[in-house]
């Protein structure tokens, strides 16, 4: 098997299966009443946690690729990004369908009144067009550059996601702080890389006299 075949037939399906892990875990807990006394809350938290984690993993792909020089990593970025959306969607659906039971009036009141829900919904809304335009066809249709600009919205979604988590907590911010630091590192790395690139370019051009 060539390296390309190995990647396509073994590694990719393996990563895909791994990404389904949190869903399988939730299903197992639900079936064995391991979700505890308030299973709806537990499910919402579980999917929300994993939505944020996958978003951070997706954001880590590019820095990891450039640091390690493993160019194949880029091949997993779309899949991981879509899994992030998948878990965020489950998080959203559990809130709408299980927690509020499609009580749109109550949901709308929540969005209008409660900052953490407003922000969470905004993050979700930002991710929808990204998920929808994740295909090759859409990259072509939009043109690489415009597509890229659109998909930078993921940075904003990440920031909003972390704020959403922070605002929800009553006390004890340790886990949220970990996400915030990771996100800051991932976004900070991009700023740094950009600055370095620009500086390198600047060094190449002679200064005006």
């Amino acid at each position: 098997m060539t390296r390309e075949q190995r990647l396509r037939r073994i590694v990719k399906p393996a990563v895909f299966a791994l990404c389904l892990g949190p869903l399988a875990w939730a299903a197992w807990l639900a079936a064995s009443s391991g979700l505890g006394a308030n299973p709806i809350e537990a499910a919402i938290r579980h999917f929300g946690d994993w939505g944020l984690r996958f978003l951070l993993i997706a954001l880590a792909v590019t820095p990891l690729r450039e640091i390690t020089g493993l160019s194949q990593l880029a091949r997993f970025r779309r899949m991981i990004g879509l899994f992030a959306f998948f878990y965020v969607f489950l998080h959203f659906s559990a809130y709408v369908g299980l927690d509020q039971f499609f009580d749109w009036q109550a949901i709308w009141a929540d969005i209008a009144k409660r900052t953490y829900i407003t922000i969470g919904m905004a993050a979700f809304a930002l991710l929808v067009p990204l998920a929808a335009t994740s295909t090759k066809g859409w990259i072509k249709r939009l043109g690489g550059k415009r597509w890229q600009v659109l998909h930078r919205a993921v940075y904003a979604a990440g920031v909003l996601g972390v704020i959403h988590y922070f605002l929800m907590i009553k006390a004890g911010y340790r886990e949220a702080a970990v996400y915030a630091v990771l996100l800051a590192l991932l976004l900070g790395w991009r700023l740094f890389a950009r600055w370095r690139k620009r500086a390198a370019k600047g060094a190449g051009t002679p200064l005006p006299a």
């Binding site: 505890g36 006394a37 537990a42 938290r45 579980h46 299980l98 109550a106 009144k113 900052t115």
Partner: protein
């Protein structure tokens, strides 16, 4: 994170003895013990200390709503002294020693001092009070508490005319309460009531639950239960009672004054900034139900707040 793998040491639900079987076994042992003791000593010996509480009478004000399962009540708890997750208290309270226990009484009263737990409740009949409990996070339970009227306890210490409020404190034992090793909240946890609220017959000091002694995760050995207020008012594992002239600085009120008022009365028309208070999910139910004013105890307690702007004094 909320979801964890069960530890090997955790009790599986299949290993828990059904209450009826457990009680039957207990009754048999007791009968046998009494019979045996009777043979040896020729007279009745007091039964050894055990978890089941004796001589419980049915209290006034109990709701006839279906109580939440004992499993849920003892496994889904907000008790930050044992950790921030609701599953932490049941898991992290194994080393907590609720007995022996003393309560320091002080402030504006005639009989300040340090009293043994047994003396605090001595002479008062243990009553079963089935109360609704409403958490500020918009979930609720129905809990069969066993306890004594708070007012009767406070009267023992002769609060003076200067006693306008009563403050309570939770024990600080970081070695037994791992949550206290982190600054989740400023320890010790402090709560308080206005004197007339504390003297109201609905307010109790709970010592038991489902006919048995309180477990650490539920606030053993002695906790407040004020059913018309959000759960966080009902302070757990009390070691200190102080009669004060001014409103005591309460923990959640200090933590977030905009979110948690001193009164913390259940009020569907005054929203917490992050949780609508109009509805609640009863643990074990799927759909949310409407939250009732003063948690359904308005007939008894609304008079305490006559003339007060409940939007201001939330």
């Amino acid at each position: 994170m909320l979801i964890r793998f069960a530890r090997a040491s955790d009790v599986k639900s299949s290993e828990i003895t059904p209450k009826a079987v457990f009680e039957e076994r207990r009754r048999f042992l007791k009968t046998a013990a009494v019979a045996g003791a009777g043979l040896v000593a020729g007279h009745f010996l007091p039964a050894p200390a055990e978890a089941a509480l004796q001589g419980i009478t049915k209290g006034r004000f109990s709701t006839d709503e279906e109580p939440t399962s004992q499993m849920s009540i003892t496994s889904y708890n907000n008790f930050y002294e044992f950790g921030g997750d609701k599953t932490d208290p049941a898991r992290n309270s194994k080393n907590f020693k609720p007995k022996p226990w003393t309560v320091a009484v002080g402030g504006h009263c005639e009989k300040p001092g340090t009293y043994a737990y047994e003396d605090v409740i001595k002479g008062l009949p243990l009553e079963e009070r089935i109360y609704r409990l409403r958490c500020v996070e918009a979930w609720s339970m129905v809990i069969p508490w066993v306890g004594v009227p708070l007012g009767d306890v406070l009267k023992k210490y002769g609060p003076t005319g200067q006693a306008k409020y009563v403050a309570f404190e939770t024990v600080v034992r970081p070695e037994e309460m791992p949550g206290q090793k982190t600054p989740l909240l400023p320890w010790p946890y402090v709560e308080g009531l206005r004197m007339d609220e504390a003297m109201h017959p609905l307010a109790i000091l709970a010592v038991g639950l489902y006919g048995e002694e309180l477990l650490p995760q539920n606030g053993a050995p002695l906790r407040l239960m004020v059913p018309w207020k959000y759960g966080f008012k009902s302070i757990k594992s009390i070691v200190k009672i102080t009669f004060t002239e001014t409103e005591p600085p309460t923990t959640w009120n200090k933590q977030g004054p905009v979110e948690y008022g001193f009164y913390a009365n259940v009020n569907p028309t005054v929203d917490h900034p992050r949780w609508s208070q109009a509805k609640e999910r009863r643990i074990g139910e799927f759909l949310r139900r409407d939250t009732l004013m003063f948690n359904g105890y308005a007939d008894q307690v609304a008079g305490l707040y006559a003339g007060m702007d409940l939007r201001k004094f939330y």
